[in-house]
Structure formats: C-alpha cells, structure tokens
C-alpha cells in the first residue's frame, strides 16, 4: 500500500493524504451528529467555503514565493466596503464592471505590498503586518461610521451567490462555490503548467539560486502579490454579495484563517512547495470542522475553539509524519534502483 503510494509524486500524495483526513473527519462526525451526512452539509460547507477558498488561494500564491500576506483580512474588508459604496452610488453599474473594480481595487493593495516586498526588499511579514493595520485604519477613515447594508445593494448582487447553477440529487452547486472552484482549478493548472508560475516555486525554493539563475525575482514576487491582491479583491466582492452588511470589522482575522487553511492544505510555509488545490481542501477541512463542532452536542459552544486548535495541530502533525515516511520510502526505493543498476551495469 505504502509502496504503491510512494510511486506518486509528493504533491499528489499530499492531496490524497488530505482527502483521507477529510473523509475521516466526515466519518467521525457522522457518527456523532444525527442526520449529518446529507446534501445539506455539502450545501452549507460549499457556500461558506467559497470566500475562504479564494483567500487561501491568494495566500498560497504568496507563500509559495517564501513570503506571507497578513493584510488579506483588511483588503477583503476594504474591497467589500468600497465595492458596496460604489454599487450603492451607481446601482445600474454593469456586474462585470463591478467585479473588475473589486479585483482591480484588491490588486492595488497587492501592488502596494508587492512593491515594498519585491523592490524595497522589506520582509513580507513586516510589510503586511504593517499594511494589515494600515488598510484597516484607512477603511475606518473611509467608512466614517457608515456601514453598507443589503438594502443598498441591487437584487442581482445579493442573490447571485446562492443561485443554483445545477444540482446533483441533494447537492446544490451554487454560483459562489462553482466560481471559487473554477478559479482554484484554473490557478492550480496555471501553477503547474505556466513557466512564469514555476518561477514562483523556484524563488520560494531557493531565492539565492533564483538570483544567480537570472530569474527576475523582483518582478515575479511583485506579480505574485498583485495576483493575490486581485483574488483577495474578488473574495471581497463575494463577501459583500453573501453578507450584504459590511462594517469596519469585515474580514477581521481572515489573515490567520487563510494561513491556517494553506498550511493545513500542505503548503510549505517556507515556500517552494504546495498546491492551491491543497489549500482549497485545507479551507474545506477547517470550515467543516468549525461548522460540525457547532452541531456536535458533546462539545459546548465554549469548547469549539479549543477543539478546533487541537484538530488543526493534529491534522498538520499527521500530514508531516505521513509525508516523511513516504519520502523515506521513496529514497529507499531510489537507492535500491541505483544498486540494481550498478550490479547489472
């Protein structure tokens, strides 16, 4: 079994491992919670994970380059608010224009971060720690005590996240979820196939070598942050559409949630390895655990966080241990292969 697995490449392995964990969690809760396993569960998770999936994807892009973006929460909040104010001001703005506005708006924040990280060479954790506070402050200034309410928003906007594109039995596939998944898959494929994207991995893997190999590090990292910004902006748009009511606390704490999702999804926090698909599963896992815990009679409301923390930790630890075993196996196989070659050759 293990041997068979060890033939696959690490990234596929990781995703399989994650899916296993996911299955285990679902199995566990299905024994604990009555009428748990049904389409409804899927609908809940799928529609609530859509936003975090996008943010986790953005976070992954940045982490791959051995950076981190702690400002995503503030960017989501600000974008949601700005988008809301815009559509409130001109209600018959074309949807596509509105979406592109959100993404552009987010991309600007990304560019700001990216500039300081890539060109001014300030460590990402410092830049984004600062911009997290900065953007939030700007939002409070900008909001000036007002808040966006769903009554200010056009019908199409508030209803689109839940419009059912198609259904499989009980499983409803809603716009927000489908869009998120489509984007994640698109980014996933891009990261595996686009040569530019491979450079993200290269830089995260060994910045020094990247410099020597003549990869345009500055531009690539900047590019990563801008893309992340755009995705976060889109998340902001979805946030607005889903919740309708936007105050200055919108998106508070998303930075850590997204990092958690990415990490649980097997993205190496030190860059170079990991997939956005993994990040998606990570986001689902965290969301699933959170939602299920609320429904789990055994743990009172107050135990939720404690259990969540424990589960995240064990999930990551498990993943690490399993991966190590498999890698060791691969190495052993590789060695054997060499041995054989020698004896035959």
């Amino acid at each position: 079994m293990m041997r068979a697995l060890s033939n696959l490449n690490p990234q596929t392995l990781r995703i399989i491992a994650l899916l296993l964990v996911l299955a285990l969690v679902i199995l566990f809760f299905s024994t604990q919670i009555s009428n748990y396993l049904n389409g409804r569960l899927f609908n809940r998770i799928s529609s609530s994970v859509a936003i975090m999936a996008l943010i986790a994807t953005a976070q992954t892009l940045v982490i791959l380059t051995r950076n981190i973006d702690l400002s995503v929460g503030s960017v989501v909040g600000f974008t949601a608010f700005a988008t809301g104010s815009l559509i409130a001001a001109m209600p018959d703005l074309h949807p596509l224009l509105l979406v592109s506005f959100s993404m552009l708006f987010g991309a600007c924040f990304g560019a700001f971060n990216g500039f300081f990280v890539a060109y001014a060479r300030v460590p990402a954790i410092i830049v984004t720690l600062a911009t997290m506070a900065l953007f939030r402050s700007l939002l409070v200034e900008f909001a000036d005590g007002k808040s966006i309410t769903s009554s200010q928003l056009p019908q199409w906007l508030t209803s689109f996240p839940n419009t059912r594109l198609f259904e499989l039995g009980q499983f409803q596939f809603r716009a927000s979820f489908v869009i998120a998944v489509v984007i994640v898959i698109a980014v996933h494929i891009a990261l595996q196939r686009l040569r530019v994207a491979r450079k993200l991995y290269a830089i995260g893997s060994n910045p020094e070598a990247a410099e020597m190999a003549g990869i345009n590090q500055k531009l690539t990292v900047f590019f990563a942050f801008v893309c992340a910004g755009a995705l976060t902006g889109l998340a902001g748009f979805m946030f607005l559409a889903r919740f309708g009511n936007i105050t200055v606390v919108a998106g508070l704490g998303f930075e850590l949630k997204s990092v958690a999702a990415a990490v649980v999804g097997g993205v190496n926090i030190f860059g170079g390895s990991g997939t956005v698909f993994g990040a998606l599963i990570g986001a689902v896992l965290v969301d699933l655990i959170e939602t299920s815990l609320v429904r789990w009679q055994l743990v009172s409301e107050f135990w939720r966080e404690a259990v969540l923390g424990t589960l995240i930790l064990t999930a990551v630890a498990l993943d690490a241990v399993v991966m190590r075993r498999l890698v060791a196996l691969r190495a052993a196989k590789h060695h054997e292969k060499r041995e054989k070659e020698v004896t035959h050759g």
């Binding site: 300030v122 460590p123 600062a130 506070a133 910045p207 850590l256 923390g309 930790l313």
Partner: protein
C-alpha cells in the same frame, strides 16, 4: 590600529540601528513634551508603561524566540489562558498564591507543548503557534465561558494597580529586572550565543554539537512561562478577567520586536533594540493619545513606522543572505 576621532565614532554609533532609534526616541519625547503639558508628569510617565506593561514584558522573550529564527504567535492566547486560569482557580476557592504557581506551571506546559511539536515533530513554529493561538484561547474560553471574574484579593489587585517602590508599580520593576537578566543572558552568555548561532544556521549549530532541539524547547518554555506571568500581571492590573483577555496582543508584541531591528529570519538583533522600540512605540502612542488622535490613526502610524524601520537602516544584509537564513532556519 589608529583610534578614530570621538566625533567619527559618535557618528558611527548613530549610524547603527540602535543609534537611529535613540535619535528617534529623543525626537518623539521632545515633541510630546512640547505639545502636551501633561506628558512629562510622573503619573503619565508611569501610566505610559503600565498601559502596555504586559506586552513589553513578553516582547523581551519574543526577542529571543525571533533571533532563534522561530516565532510564537500563541503568547496573546497564553496570557489570556493564564489570566482566566487564575480567575477560574480563584473562583474554585484555590488559595491565590497556589493558583499563581499553578498558572505559571500551565504557562511552562503550554510552551513545552509548542516546543514539542516544533522540535520533536519538526513543524514550523509559525504553524504550531498559529494552532495553539486558537487552542489556548479556546481553553481560556472553556474555563470562564461567558463569565467575567472579579473581586480578587486586594493584595493581588494592589500588585497591579498601586505603587510598590514609591509610585513605581510591581510590574514595572519586574520588567526592569527581567530586562537586565535577559540582556545579560542574550548578549553575554553561551546560551545567548547559541541562540544567535541556531538562528543564523541551525545545521551549523547542530554540527558543532549544540543540541538545537533542547535549546528551542527551553526558549518556548521561557516564552510560555513569561506570557503566563504577564497574563497574571494583566489580571492584577485590570482586577478582572474575561475570555477575551489579551486578544490580539501577539501582533503588537511582534511589531515592537521587529521595530527593534530584530531580523524576522533570525540570527540578528539585540535586546537593546527591542527596548528602544518599546520606548518609541509607547511614547508615540501616549503622545498621540494626549493629542486625542484616535485609535485607528495611531495603529496606522505604527504600521508605517514598522515599514520605515526596515527601509531606513537599509544597509548591510542583502536579500540573498536573508533568503538563505530563512531557508536554513526553516529546513
């Protein structure tokens, strides 16, 4: 070796990051004194520390942790857990002194837990402490649920609220003592040297026979212990605890340390830098508060300062080196 002129050496000192911080600090203090009459009053000077005393105490150990190329995001939650655990035990009728002992134990245990996953399991500290940030907060929640616990014994409240040596409160003295001890520990002892070496390149340290895991374990236990201590001080200062005590403190703490010129990738930085950064942040916040500048603008200013803190001393370390350090501390 010819001695450089005193003036030149002065200038050389100013050019160091610490030197720059000193200048910045002097400037800020002067500005504050000029702009608000109440600034230079003894009361305000003490309040200025009191208001963030717990954060700045934890910032001292955080300096060790970050120089060691690790990070501890769980400090805020640990402070909360400690405070709540104390409140809980107190409500259970446990003798406060015993309660304090138990709480400190909890702190050490929490640190050890972080340490275990980071050293034995080999997970990145960012990940582990991110999880325990949630977990410890959760435990605090479990202990106090939706209650607010208050009416601690007077001597306990006094510890946090009244002058101990004259007008100087206990916490401030504790900070002073702790600073001196930790300063010597980091800058003068073998332990400190190891902290730097491991932070610079873990493998090199290991190949030199240093038990890096043990060292990191000790650091995280220190971090947990001091956080718990700070949590108790907080409880004493505000005379009440609640599930959300010290929520989000970790970021302020890390900000101060980084502002002090400690490299987020480990291996470089000094406690003096951290101290200066602390003074700058506190004075700046206090000054702005006295000028009735509201919270979010204050945070914004600190944010800008943080970026500036890296841009200004833009001298030595090339990004390549940074990258390398981080990689090695990571692997």
């Amino acid at each position: 070796m010819d001695k450089p002129s005193p003036l030149a050496s002065m200038w050389a000192k100013v050019q160091t990051w610490e030197g720059f911080l000193v200048c910045a600090l002097i400037f800020i203090v002067l500005m504050n004194t000029a702009l608000s009459p109440q600034f230079m009053t003894l009361g305000n000077q003490i309040n200025l520390f009191q208001l963030s005393i717990e954060k700045i105490i934890v910032a001292l150990v955080m300096t060790f942790v970050i120089i060691n190329a690790e990070i501890d995001l769980s400090v805020g939650s640990m402070m909360g857990l400690a405070a709540c655990a104390f409140g809980y035990l107190f409500q259970m009728g446990v003798d406060p002194v015993l309660a304090i002992a138990i709480v400190l134990l909890i702190g050490a245990a929490g640190g050890a837990l972080n340490g275990f996953f980071i050293t034995t399991i080999g997970l990145p500290s960012l990940v582990v402490t991110l999880a325990t940030l949630i977990g410890f907060r959760g435990l605090a929640r479990v202990l106090v649920e939706d209650r607010g616990i208050t009416d601690f014994p007077d001597w306990f409240d006094a510890l946090g609220q009244q002058g101990w040596l004259g007008p100087v409160p206990f916490a401030l003295i504790a900070f002073g003592v702790l600073f001196v001890c930790l300063y010597v520990l980091l800058q003068r002892t073998g332990f400190g040297r190891k902290t730097y070496v491991i932070g610079t390149n873990r493998d090199v340290a290991a190949f030199a026979g240093i038990d890096t895991n043990k060292h990191k374990m000790i650091l995280f236990i220190m971090s947990g212990l001091v956080s718990a201590f700070a949590g108790l001080l907080y409880a004493a200062r505000v005379g009440a605890v609640r599930g959300d005590v010290a929520l989000g403190f970790e970021l302020d703490i890390i900000t101060m340390v980084l502002l002090g010129g400690v490299s987020i990738f480990g291996g470089s930085g000094t406690l003096l830098g951290t101290l200066l950064a602390i003074l700058i942040v506190l004075n700046l916040r206090n000054g702005m508060a006295l000028l009735n500048i509201t919270g979010h603008i204050q945070t914004g200013v600190i944010g800008i300062l943080l970026i500036a803190s890296v841009l200004l001393p833009r001298v030595d370390v090339s990004t390549l080196l940074r990258g390398k350090k981080q990689q090695e501390s990571g692997s």
